[in-house]
Protein backbone atom coordinates (compact mmCIF):
# COMPACT_ATOMS: atom_id res chain seq x y z
CA UNK A 1 0.00 0.00 0.00
CA UNK A 2 1.34 3.40 -0.91
CA UNK A 3 0.21 6.92 -1.69
CA UNK A 4 -0.17 7.49 -5.41
CA UNK A 5 -1.01 10.53 -7.47
CA UNK A 6 -3.54 11.42 -10.16
CA UNK A 7 -1.42 14.25 -11.52
CA UNK A 8 -4.04 16.05 -13.59
CA UNK A 9 -6.40 16.32 -10.63
CA UNK A 10 -3.79 18.35 -8.76
CA UNK A 11 -4.30 22.11 -8.71
CA UNK A 12 -1.10 22.97 -6.86
CA UNK A 13 -2.57 24.21 -3.59
CA UNK A 14 0.21 22.57 -1.48
CA UNK A 15 -2.21 21.41 1.23
CA UNK A 16 -0.62 17.96 0.97
CA UNK A 17 2.79 19.40 1.84
CA UNK A 18 1.32 21.28 4.79
CA UNK A 19 -0.47 18.22 6.12
CA UNK A 20 2.64 16.08 5.80
CA UNK A 21 4.90 18.66 7.41
CA UNK A 22 2.42 18.89 10.26
CA UNK A 23 2.57 15.11 10.64
CA UNK A 24 6.35 15.19 11.00
CA UNK A 25 6.90 18.45 12.86
CA UNK A 26 3.57 19.62 14.29
CA UNK A 27 4.12 22.86 12.41
CA UNK A 28 3.37 24.19 8.93
CA UNK A 29 6.18 24.45 6.42
CA UNK A 30 6.92 23.71 2.80
CA UNK A 31 10.39 22.20 3.26
CA UNK A 32 10.09 19.00 5.25
CA UNK A 33 7.32 16.83 3.82
CA UNK A 34 7.50 13.37 2.27
CA UNK A 35 5.17 14.56 -0.46
CA UNK A 36 6.51 17.34 -2.60
CA UNK A 37 4.67 19.65 -4.96
CA UNK A 38 6.99 20.31 -7.86
CA UNK A 39 6.22 23.85 -9.06
CA UNK A 40 9.55 25.19 -10.24
CA UNK A 41 8.43 25.73 -13.86
CA UNK A 42 5.69 28.28 -13.28
CA UNK A 43 5.75 29.94 -16.71
CA UNK A 44 5.27 26.61 -18.40
CA UNK A 45 2.58 25.58 -15.92
CA UNK A 46 4.49 22.32 -15.47
CA UNK A 47 3.54 20.93 -12.11
CA UNK A 48 3.69 17.52 -10.48
CA UNK A 49 3.51 15.77 -7.13
CA UNK A 50 6.23 13.46 -5.84
CA UNK A 51 5.88 11.01 -2.97
CA UNK A 52 9.02 9.63 -1.43
CA UNK A 53 9.25 6.16 0.11
CA UNK A 54 12.33 4.39 1.47
CA UNK A 55 13.18 2.84 -1.86
CA UNK A 56 11.64 4.91 -4.59
CA UNK A 57 9.78 7.98 -5.67
CA UNK A 58 6.27 8.05 -7.01
CA UNK A 59 6.48 10.75 -9.65
CA UNK A 60 3.07 12.21 -10.34
CA UNK A 61 4.12 13.86 -13.57
CA UNK A 62 1.46 15.54 -15.68
CA UNK A 63 2.55 13.52 -18.73
CA UNK A 64 2.06 10.31 -16.81
CA UNK A 65 2.78 8.95 -13.36
CA UNK A 66 5.69 6.59 -12.82
CA UNK A 67 7.56 4.92 -9.98
CA UNK A 68 11.28 5.43 -10.05
CA UNK A 69 13.89 3.72 -7.87
CA UNK A 70 16.18 6.03 -5.93
CA UNK A 71 19.48 6.09 -7.75
CA UNK A 72 17.89 5.44 -11.11
CA UNK A 73 17.52 9.13 -11.64
CA UNK A 74 21.22 9.74 -11.19
CA UNK A 75 21.94 6.90 -13.60
CA UNK A 76 19.80 8.53 -16.23
CA UNK A 77 21.58 11.82 -15.89
CA UNK A 78 20.03 15.16 -16.67
CA UNK A 79 16.35 15.51 -17.11
CA UNK A 80 13.88 18.18 -16.30
CA UNK A 81 11.12 18.76 -13.94
CA UNK A 82 9.16 16.53 -11.65
CA UNK A 83 10.41 13.46 -13.43
CA UNK A 84 13.91 13.97 -12.09
CA UNK A 85 13.86 14.51 -8.40
CA UNK A 86 15.84 12.68 -5.79
CA UNK A 87 14.48 13.97 -2.49
CA UNK A 88 16.69 11.80 -0.43
CA UNK A 89 17.01 14.04 2.59
CA UNK A 90 13.34 14.12 3.45
CA UNK A 91 11.77 11.45 5.60
CA UNK A 92 10.09 8.70 3.66
CA UNK A 93 6.33 8.46 3.69
CA UNK A 94 5.11 6.18 6.47
CA UNK A 95 1.44 6.49 5.55
CA UNK A 96 1.09 8.48 8.77
CA UNK A 97 1.34 5.18 10.69
CA UNK A 98 3.62 6.77 13.27
CA UNK A 99 0.71 9.07 14.18
CA UNK A 100 -1.88 6.33 14.03
CA UNK A 101 -4.02 8.13 11.47
CA UNK A 102 -4.83 7.60 7.81
CA UNK A 103 -2.52 9.32 5.31
CA UNK A 104 -3.22 12.98 5.87
CA UNK A 105 -2.22 14.13 2.41
CA UNK A 106 -4.93 11.89 0.97
CA UNK A 107 -7.47 13.14 3.51
CA UNK A 108 -6.73 16.82 3.01
CA UNK A 109 -6.51 17.03 -0.79
CA UNK A 110 -9.62 18.90 -1.98
CA UNK A 111 -9.50 17.38 -5.47
CA UNK A 112 -8.75 13.72 -4.79
CA UNK A 113 -5.39 13.95 -6.49
CA UNK A 114 -3.78 11.63 -3.92
CA UNK A 115 -5.02 8.15 -3.19
CA UNK A 116 -4.01 4.94 -1.48
CA UNK A 117 -3.30 1.80 -3.41
Amino acid sequence: MRVKVKPLECTGCALCELACSFHWDEAFSLVSSSVLLYRAEEKKDYMGVIVKTEEDLFLGRPEGAVEMKLGEIQKQGAGGGASAKPILIRQACDLCESAGVEPQCVVICPHGALYLE
Partner: protein, 424 residues
Protein backbone atom coordinates in the same frame (compact mmCIF):
# COMPACT_ATOMS: atom_id res chain seq x y z
CA UNK B 1 5.48 35.92 19.56
CA UNK B 2 6.02 32.58 17.97
CA UNK B 3 2.57 31.41 17.19
CA UNK B 4 1.36 31.80 13.64
CA UNK B 5 3.40 34.89 12.76
CA UNK B 6 7.03 34.53 11.89
CA UNK B 7 8.82 37.59 13.08
CA UNK B 8 9.02 41.30 13.65
CA UNK B 9 7.83 44.27 11.66
CA UNK B 10 10.39 45.40 9.15
CA UNK B 11 10.77 49.12 8.61
CA UNK B 12 12.46 49.99 5.31
CA UNK B 13 13.68 53.54 4.88
CA UNK B 14 14.12 53.83 1.14
CA UNK B 15 15.87 57.22 1.10
CA UNK B 16 18.74 55.83 3.19
CA UNK B 17 18.43 52.21 2.12
CA UNK B 18 18.45 51.17 5.77
CA UNK B 19 16.21 48.69 7.52
CA UNK B 20 15.29 48.12 11.12
CA UNK B 21 13.11 45.66 12.95
CA UNK B 22 10.44 46.48 15.46
CA UNK B 23 8.71 43.93 17.66
CA UNK B 24 5.43 42.49 16.47
CA UNK B 25 3.83 40.77 19.40
CA UNK B 26 0.66 39.61 21.06
CA UNK B 27 0.08 43.13 22.34
CA UNK B 28 0.00 44.54 18.81
CA UNK B 29 -2.48 41.89 17.79
CA UNK B 30 -4.75 42.37 20.77
CA UNK B 31 -4.71 46.15 20.54
CA UNK B 32 -5.28 46.46 16.82
CA UNK B 33 -6.24 43.09 15.49
CA UNK B 34 -4.29 40.87 13.12
CA UNK B 35 -3.68 41.06 9.39
CA UNK B 36 -4.85 44.23 7.67
CA UNK B 37 -6.03 45.69 10.98
CA UNK B 38 -2.45 45.64 12.24
CA UNK B 39 -1.38 46.94 8.84
CA UNK B 40 -3.72 49.91 9.16
CA UNK B 41 -2.30 50.71 12.59
CA UNK B 42 1.20 50.71 11.11
CA UNK B 43 0.04 52.84 8.18
CA UNK B 44 -1.38 55.46 10.52
CA UNK B 45 1.77 55.40 12.65
CA UNK B 46 3.99 56.10 9.65
CA UNK B 47 1.54 58.07 7.53
CA UNK B 48 3.78 61.11 7.25
CA UNK B 49 6.35 59.02 5.39
CA UNK B 50 3.87 57.98 2.72
CA UNK B 51 4.26 54.29 3.47
CA UNK B 52 3.43 51.12 1.69
CA UNK B 53 2.52 48.50 4.29
CA UNK B 54 2.79 44.86 3.33
CA UNK B 55 1.70 41.95 5.43
CA UNK B 56 -0.36 38.81 5.78
CA UNK B 57 -3.39 37.65 7.67
CA UNK B 58 -3.54 35.70 10.91
CA UNK B 59 -4.22 32.38 9.20
CA UNK B 60 -2.17 32.93 6.04
CA UNK B 61 0.15 30.04 5.32
CA UNK B 62 -1.75 27.39 7.26
CA UNK B 63 -4.25 24.66 6.52
CA UNK B 64 -7.20 27.02 6.90
CA UNK B 65 -9.16 26.93 3.63
CA UNK B 66 -7.91 29.48 1.11
CA UNK B 67 -5.36 30.92 3.56
CA UNK B 68 -3.33 32.48 0.76
CA UNK B 69 -3.94 36.14 1.32
CA UNK B 70 -1.49 38.89 2.02
CA UNK B 71 -1.95 42.57 1.32
CA UNK B 72 -0.35 45.74 0.09
CA UNK B 73 -1.73 48.91 1.71
CA UNK B 74 -0.92 52.44 0.59
CA UNK B 75 -2.32 55.69 -0.65
CA UNK B 76 -3.94 55.08 -4.00
CA UNK B 77 -3.01 57.64 -6.66
CA UNK B 78 -6.54 57.18 -8.01
CA UNK B 79 -8.32 58.41 -4.90
CA UNK B 80 -5.67 59.97 -2.68
CA UNK B 81 -6.93 57.69 0.09
CA UNK B 82 -5.56 54.50 1.63
CA UNK B 83 -6.41 51.45 -0.40
CA UNK B 84 -5.53 47.79 -0.17
CA UNK B 85 -4.63 45.32 -2.92
CA UNK B 86 -4.12 41.58 -2.58
CA UNK B 87 -1.06 39.34 -2.46
CA UNK B 88 -2.40 36.01 -3.66
CA UNK B 89 -1.17 32.82 -5.40
CA UNK B 90 1.81 31.88 -3.17
CA UNK B 91 3.04 35.39 -2.46
CA UNK B 92 0.90 35.99 0.65
CA UNK B 93 2.08 32.75 2.24
CA UNK B 94 5.69 33.49 1.30
CA UNK B 95 5.37 36.92 2.92
CA UNK B 96 4.30 35.15 6.11
CA UNK B 97 7.18 32.69 5.82
CA UNK B 98 9.76 35.37 4.91
CA UNK B 99 10.41 35.95 8.58
CA UNK B 100 8.64 39.29 8.87
CA UNK B 101 5.10 39.66 10.07
CA UNK B 102 4.65 43.06 8.47
CA UNK B 103 6.74 45.47 6.43
CA UNK B 104 6.54 49.28 6.27
CA UNK B 105 8.24 50.87 3.27
CA UNK B 106 8.84 54.56 3.81
CA UNK B 107 9.86 57.34 1.47
CA UNK B 108 11.37 57.14 -2.00
CA UNK B 109 14.65 55.59 -3.00
CA UNK B 110 17.16 57.80 -4.84
CA UNK B 111 17.68 55.04 -7.42
CA UNK B 112 15.91 51.84 -8.46
CA UNK B 113 16.01 49.14 -5.82
CA UNK B 114 14.34 45.89 -5.00
CA UNK B 115 13.76 44.29 -1.64
CA UNK B 116 14.84 40.73 -0.92
CA UNK B 117 13.17 39.29 2.17
CA UNK B 118 14.40 35.86 3.23
CA UNK B 119 14.09 34.09 6.55
CA UNK B 120 14.27 37.20 8.67
CA UNK B 121 16.91 38.94 6.54
CA UNK B 122 16.01 42.05 4.57
CA UNK B 123 18.27 43.29 1.81
CA UNK B 124 17.82 46.44 -0.23
CA UNK B 125 19.44 45.63 -3.57
CA UNK B 126 20.27 47.66 -6.61
CA UNK B 127 17.67 47.32 -9.38
CA UNK B 128 19.24 49.60 -11.98
CA UNK B 129 19.69 46.63 -14.29
CA UNK B 130 16.02 45.74 -13.96
CA UNK B 131 14.56 49.19 -14.47
CA UNK B 132 12.74 49.37 -17.77
CA UNK B 133 12.20 45.60 -17.92
CA UNK B 134 8.80 44.03 -17.97
CA UNK B 135 7.56 41.94 -15.05
CA UNK B 136 8.32 38.60 -16.74
CA UNK B 137 11.93 39.52 -17.39
CA UNK B 138 12.16 40.95 -13.89
CA UNK B 139 10.81 37.81 -12.24
CA UNK B 140 13.14 35.58 -14.25
CA UNK B 141 16.11 37.78 -13.42
CA UNK B 142 15.40 37.89 -9.69
CA UNK B 143 14.87 34.13 -9.52
CA UNK B 144 18.08 33.53 -11.42
CA UNK B 145 19.96 35.91 -9.13
CA UNK B 146 18.66 34.19 -6.01
CA UNK B 147 19.19 30.73 -7.49
CA UNK B 148 15.67 29.54 -6.71
CA UNK B 149 12.60 29.32 -8.92
CA UNK B 150 10.22 29.38 -5.96
CA UNK B 151 11.08 32.94 -4.92
CA UNK B 152 7.87 34.97 -5.11
CA UNK B 153 8.38 38.25 -6.96
CA UNK B 154 6.00 41.18 -6.66
CA UNK B 155 7.15 43.57 -9.35
CA UNK B 156 6.23 46.51 -11.50
CA UNK B 157 6.68 46.94 -15.22
CA UNK B 158 7.14 50.05 -17.32
CA UNK B 159 3.65 51.25 -16.34
CA UNK B 160 4.57 51.33 -12.66
CA UNK B 161 7.95 52.85 -13.35
CA UNK B 162 6.29 55.78 -15.05
CA UNK B 163 3.78 55.96 -12.19
CA UNK B 164 0.96 55.52 -14.66
CA UNK B 165 -2.44 55.46 -13.04
CA UNK B 166 -3.01 52.24 -14.92
CA UNK B 167 -0.14 50.63 -13.12
CA UNK B 168 -0.57 47.49 -11.11
CA UNK B 169 2.05 45.26 -9.54
CA UNK B 170 2.26 41.73 -10.91
CA UNK B 171 2.70 38.60 -8.82
CA UNK B 172 5.47 36.71 -10.58
CA UNK B 173 4.21 36.79 -14.18
CA UNK B 174 0.53 37.27 -13.50
CA UNK B 175 -2.13 39.87 -12.79
CA UNK B 176 -2.51 40.63 -9.10
CA UNK B 177 -5.88 42.34 -8.67
CA UNK B 178 -4.21 45.63 -7.75
CA UNK B 179 -6.98 48.00 -8.84
CA UNK B 180 -5.72 50.84 -6.62
CA UNK B 181 -2.65 51.55 -8.77
CA UNK B 182 -0.34 50.72 -5.86
CA UNK B 183 2.06 49.61 -8.55
CA UNK B 184 2.38 53.29 -9.40
CA UNK B 185 3.26 54.03 -5.79
CA UNK B 186 6.01 51.46 -6.04
CA UNK B 187 7.22 53.19 -9.17
CA UNK B 188 7.27 56.58 -7.46
CA UNK B 189 9.36 55.02 -4.73
CA UNK B 190 11.69 53.52 -7.35
CA UNK B 191 10.84 50.17 -5.82
CA UNK B 192 11.07 47.76 -8.73
CA UNK B 193 10.23 44.56 -6.92
CA UNK B 194 9.80 42.74 -3.64
CA UNK B 195 11.23 39.22 -3.60
CA UNK B 196 10.09 36.82 -0.91
CA UNK B 197 11.28 33.42 0.24
CA UNK B 198 11.21 31.62 3.56
CA UNK B 199 12.19 28.12 4.68
CA UNK B 200 10.68 28.52 8.12
CA UNK B 201 7.81 26.97 9.97
CA UNK B 202 4.58 28.33 11.37
CA UNK B 203 3.45 27.16 14.78
CA UNK B 204 -0.05 27.36 16.16
CA UNK B 205 -0.68 27.86 19.85
CA UNK B 206 -2.57 24.56 19.99
CA UNK B 207 -1.16 22.67 17.02
CA UNK B 208 -3.28 19.48 17.03
CA UNK B 209 -6.48 21.44 17.75
CA UNK B 210 -5.70 23.89 14.95
CA UNK B 211 -4.85 21.19 12.46
CA UNK B 212 -7.95 19.11 13.21
CA UNK B 213 -10.27 22.13 13.02
CA UNK B 214 -8.68 23.24 9.75
CA UNK B 215 -9.09 19.78 8.32
CA UNK B 216 -12.76 19.73 9.32
CA UNK B 217 -13.36 23.03 7.58
CA UNK B 218 -11.56 21.85 4.47
CA UNK B 219 -13.65 18.71 4.33
CA UNK B 220 -16.75 20.89 4.09
CA UNK B 221 -15.20 23.62 1.92
CA UNK B 222 -16.51 23.65 -1.64
CA UNK B 223 -13.93 22.94 -4.33
CA UNK B 224 -14.19 23.80 -8.00
CA UNK B 225 -12.21 24.51 -11.13
CA UNK B 226 -12.58 27.63 -13.22
CA UNK B 227 -13.76 31.21 -13.09
CA UNK B 228 -17.51 30.79 -13.67
CA UNK B 229 -18.30 30.29 -10.04
CA UNK B 230 -16.94 33.77 -9.45
CA UNK B 231 -18.30 35.42 -12.55
CA UNK B 232 -21.64 33.70 -13.00
CA UNK B 233 -23.38 35.55 -10.23
CA UNK B 234 -22.71 38.75 -12.14
CA UNK B 235 -23.95 37.62 -15.51
CA UNK B 236 -20.42 37.73 -16.80
CA UNK B 237 -21.00 35.08 -19.41
CA UNK B 238 -19.64 31.57 -19.62
CA UNK B 239 -15.96 32.42 -19.17
CA UNK B 240 -14.93 28.79 -18.71
CA UNK B 241 -16.56 27.66 -21.95
CA UNK B 242 -15.01 30.60 -23.77
CA UNK B 243 -11.54 29.69 -22.52
CA UNK B 244 -11.96 25.92 -22.78
CA UNK B 245 -10.33 25.38 -26.19
CA UNK B 246 -7.08 26.82 -24.85
CA UNK B 247 -7.23 25.70 -21.22
CA UNK B 248 -4.21 23.69 -20.08
CA UNK B 249 -4.90 23.28 -16.35
CA UNK B 250 -6.59 24.95 -13.42
CA UNK B 251 -4.48 26.26 -10.55
CA UNK B 252 -5.21 27.15 -6.96
CA UNK B 253 -3.76 29.80 -4.80
CA UNK B 254 -2.01 28.52 -1.71
CA UNK B 255 -4.22 26.21 0.40
CA UNK B 256 -7.32 27.04 -1.63
CA UNK B 257 -9.83 24.34 -2.60
CA UNK B 258 -10.97 26.46 -5.53
CA UNK B 259 -8.80 26.32 -8.62
CA UNK B 260 -10.14 29.42 -10.31
CA UNK B 261 -6.83 30.49 -11.81
CA UNK B 262 -6.84 29.16 -15.34
CA UNK B 263 -3.67 28.46 -17.28
CA UNK B 264 -4.20 28.80 -21.01
CA UNK B 265 -1.73 27.86 -23.73
CA UNK B 266 -1.66 29.47 -27.14
CA UNK B 267 2.03 29.19 -28.07
CA UNK B 268 1.78 25.40 -27.96
CA UNK B 269 -1.10 22.99 -27.84
CA UNK B 270 -2.89 23.11 -24.47
CA UNK B 271 -2.95 19.34 -24.44
CA UNK B 272 0.85 19.20 -24.18
CA UNK B 273 1.50 18.11 -20.60
CA UNK B 274 5.24 17.56 -20.52
CA UNK B 275 7.79 20.31 -20.09
CA UNK B 276 8.94 21.21 -23.61
CA UNK B 277 11.34 23.68 -25.11
CA UNK B 278 8.57 26.29 -25.38
CA UNK B 279 9.51 28.55 -22.48
CA UNK B 280 6.41 30.76 -22.54
CA UNK B 281 3.52 28.68 -23.79
CA UNK B 282 0.73 30.87 -22.42
CA UNK B 283 -0.47 32.63 -19.33
CA UNK B 284 -2.37 32.27 -16.08
CA UNK B 285 -5.74 34.05 -16.02
CA UNK B 286 -6.01 35.07 -12.40
CA UNK B 287 -9.16 37.16 -12.40
CA UNK B 288 -12.66 36.78 -13.70
CA UNK B 289 -13.32 40.51 -14.17
CA UNK B 290 -10.75 41.10 -16.90
CA UNK B 291 -11.84 37.95 -18.72
CA UNK B 292 -15.48 39.02 -18.36
CA UNK B 293 -14.80 42.41 -19.94
CA UNK B 294 -13.04 40.94 -22.94
CA UNK B 295 -15.60 38.18 -23.39
CA UNK B 296 -18.43 40.66 -23.27
CA UNK B 297 -16.53 42.90 -25.70
CA UNK B 298 -16.48 40.20 -28.35
CA UNK B 299 -12.83 39.20 -28.06
CA UNK B 300 -11.79 35.71 -29.02
CA UNK B 301 -10.31 33.82 -26.09
CA UNK B 302 -6.76 33.51 -27.44
CA UNK B 303 -6.48 37.15 -28.36
CA UNK B 304 -8.00 38.18 -25.06
CA UNK B 305 -5.43 36.11 -23.20
CA UNK B 306 -2.62 37.56 -25.29
CA UNK B 307 -3.87 40.99 -24.35
CA UNK B 308 -3.96 40.03 -20.68
CA UNK B 309 -0.42 38.69 -20.99
CA UNK B 310 0.76 41.96 -22.50
CA UNK B 311 -0.86 43.89 -19.68
CA UNK B 312 0.60 41.62 -17.00
CA UNK B 313 4.06 42.03 -18.54
CA UNK B 314 3.73 45.78 -18.61
CA UNK B 315 2.36 45.83 -15.08
CA UNK B 316 -1.01 47.23 -16.07
CA UNK B 317 -4.22 46.72 -14.10
CA UNK B 318 -5.87 43.94 -16.10
CA UNK B 319 -9.38 44.90 -15.06
CA UNK B 320 -9.20 48.53 -16.15
CA UNK B 321 -7.14 47.67 -19.17
CA UNK B 322 -9.58 44.97 -20.24
CA UNK B 323 -12.49 47.33 -19.78
CA UNK B 324 -10.87 49.86 -22.06
CA UNK B 325 -9.99 47.22 -24.66
CA UNK B 326 -13.38 45.54 -24.44
CA UNK B 327 -15.07 47.44 -27.21
CA UNK B 328 -12.26 46.93 -29.74
CA UNK B 329 -11.49 43.26 -30.24
CA UNK B 330 -8.26 42.56 -32.13
CA UNK B 331 -6.92 39.57 -33.96
CA UNK B 332 -3.20 40.14 -34.42
CA UNK B 333 -0.47 40.19 -31.80
CA UNK B 334 1.06 43.38 -33.14
CA UNK B 335 -2.22 45.16 -32.87
CA UNK B 336 -2.70 43.84 -29.36
CA UNK B 337 0.69 45.12 -28.19
CA UNK B 338 -0.02 48.52 -29.70
CA UNK B 339 -3.45 48.66 -28.14
CA UNK B 340 -2.08 47.76 -24.72
CA UNK B 341 0.66 50.30 -25.15
CA UNK B 342 -1.92 52.93 -25.98
CA UNK B 343 -4.24 52.41 -23.05
CA UNK B 344 -5.30 55.69 -21.51
CA UNK B 345 -6.37 54.55 -18.06
CA UNK B 346 -9.60 56.49 -18.35
CA UNK B 347 -11.78 53.58 -17.33
CA UNK B 348 -12.54 52.65 -13.74
CA UNK B 349 -12.17 49.11 -12.53
CA UNK B 350 -15.38 47.20 -12.14
CA UNK B 351 -17.51 44.42 -13.63
CA UNK B 352 -19.44 44.52 -16.89
CA UNK B 353 -23.06 45.44 -16.36
CA UNK B 354 -22.68 45.82 -12.61
CA UNK B 355 -22.66 49.01 -10.63
CA UNK B 356 -19.54 49.39 -8.61
CA UNK B 357 -19.66 49.71 -4.84
CA UNK B 358 -18.13 52.76 -3.20
CA UNK B 359 -15.36 50.61 -1.94
CA UNK B 360 -13.14 52.91 0.02
CA UNK B 361 -10.33 50.72 1.26
CA UNK B 362 -11.21 47.70 -0.88
CA UNK B 363 -11.39 47.51 -4.65
CA UNK B 364 -13.49 45.58 -7.15
CA UNK B 365 -10.99 42.71 -7.34
CA UNK B 366 -13.54 41.05 -5.09
CA UNK B 367 -16.74 40.68 -7.16
CA UNK B 368 -19.94 42.23 -5.80
CA UNK B 369 -21.68 38.89 -5.45
CA UNK B 370 -23.71 40.01 -2.44
CA UNK B 371 -25.11 43.21 -0.98
CA UNK B 372 -22.59 45.94 -0.26
CA UNK B 373 -22.47 45.54 3.50
CA UNK B 374 -21.88 41.78 3.20
CA UNK B 375 -19.25 42.42 0.54
CA UNK B 376 -17.50 44.88 2.82
CA UNK B 377 -17.53 42.44 5.73
CA UNK B 378 -16.14 39.65 3.55
CA UNK B 379 -13.23 41.89 2.59
CA UNK B 380 -12.62 42.87 6.19
CA UNK B 381 -12.69 39.28 7.43
CA UNK B 382 -10.62 38.09 4.50
CA UNK B 383 -7.83 40.58 4.90
CA UNK B 384 -7.70 40.26 8.69
CA UNK B 385 -7.63 36.47 8.68
CA UNK B 386 -5.68 36.09 5.45
CA UNK B 387 -8.47 34.19 3.69
CA UNK B 388 -9.31 35.07 0.10
CA UNK B 389 -12.54 37.13 0.26
CA UNK B 390 -13.48 35.93 -3.22
CA UNK B 391 -13.46 32.39 -1.86
CA UNK B 392 -15.45 33.49 1.19
CA UNK B 393 -18.18 34.91 -1.01
CA UNK B 394 -18.20 32.36 -3.82
CA UNK B 395 -18.05 29.32 -1.55
CA UNK B 396 -20.47 30.45 1.14
CA UNK B 397 -18.14 28.93 3.73
CA UNK B 398 -19.12 29.61 7.34
CA UNK B 399 -16.88 32.20 8.92
CA UNK B 400 -17.61 30.87 12.41
CA UNK B 401 -15.26 27.98 11.84
CA UNK B 402 -12.52 30.33 10.67
CA UNK B 403 -12.90 32.44 13.79
CA UNK B 404 -12.62 29.24 15.82
CA UNK B 405 -9.28 28.63 14.15
CA UNK B 406 -8.03 32.01 15.31
CA UNK B 407 -8.46 30.93 18.88
CA UNK B 408 -6.38 27.78 18.46
CA UNK B 409 -3.88 29.63 16.28
CA UNK B 410 -3.06 32.51 18.55
CA UNK B 411 -5.47 32.58 21.45
CA UNK B 412 -7.40 35.43 19.84
CA UNK B 413 -11.20 35.48 20.01
CA UNK B 414 -12.80 37.08 17.00
CA UNK B 415 -16.19 37.34 15.40
CA UNK B 416 -17.72 39.39 12.59
CA UNK B 417 -18.51 42.39 14.73
CA UNK B 418 -15.06 42.60 16.33
CA UNK B 419 -13.50 42.40 12.87
CA UNK B 420 -15.79 45.09 11.52
CA UNK B 421 -14.95 47.19 14.56
CA UNK B 422 -11.27 47.10 13.62
CA UNK B 423 -12.09 49.25 10.59
CA UNK B 424 -14.24 51.87 12.20
Amino acid sequence: MDAIYCGDTLIVDLPSGKTEEVGFGQEMLEENGPGLAAGLALYREHEDDDPLVIGSGLLTGTTAPSSSLGFVLGKSPLTGEPAVSPLSLFSGAEMKLSGFSMMVIKGDSPGPVYLWLHDGVADVLDAAGLWGRDTWVTTDAVRAEMGEHLVQVVSIGPAGESASKLASYSINYWGSGDTAALGARMGEKKLKAIALRGLGMLDAEEPPGFYDKGKELLAKAPAWNGLNKVGNGLGAGDIDAWLKPIVHRYRSCFACPAACNTFVKYNESPSVMESTGVEEPGMLVTGAASAAWLLSGGWKAEQACRAMEAMARAGIDLIRGARELAGSPLDDSGGIDNAVGGLSGEEEAGWPGVERFSEGLFGPWVPPLVAEDEWLLANQIGYVLGICPIYLLASGIETGGLFGLCSTAAGIELDSSTVAGMFS
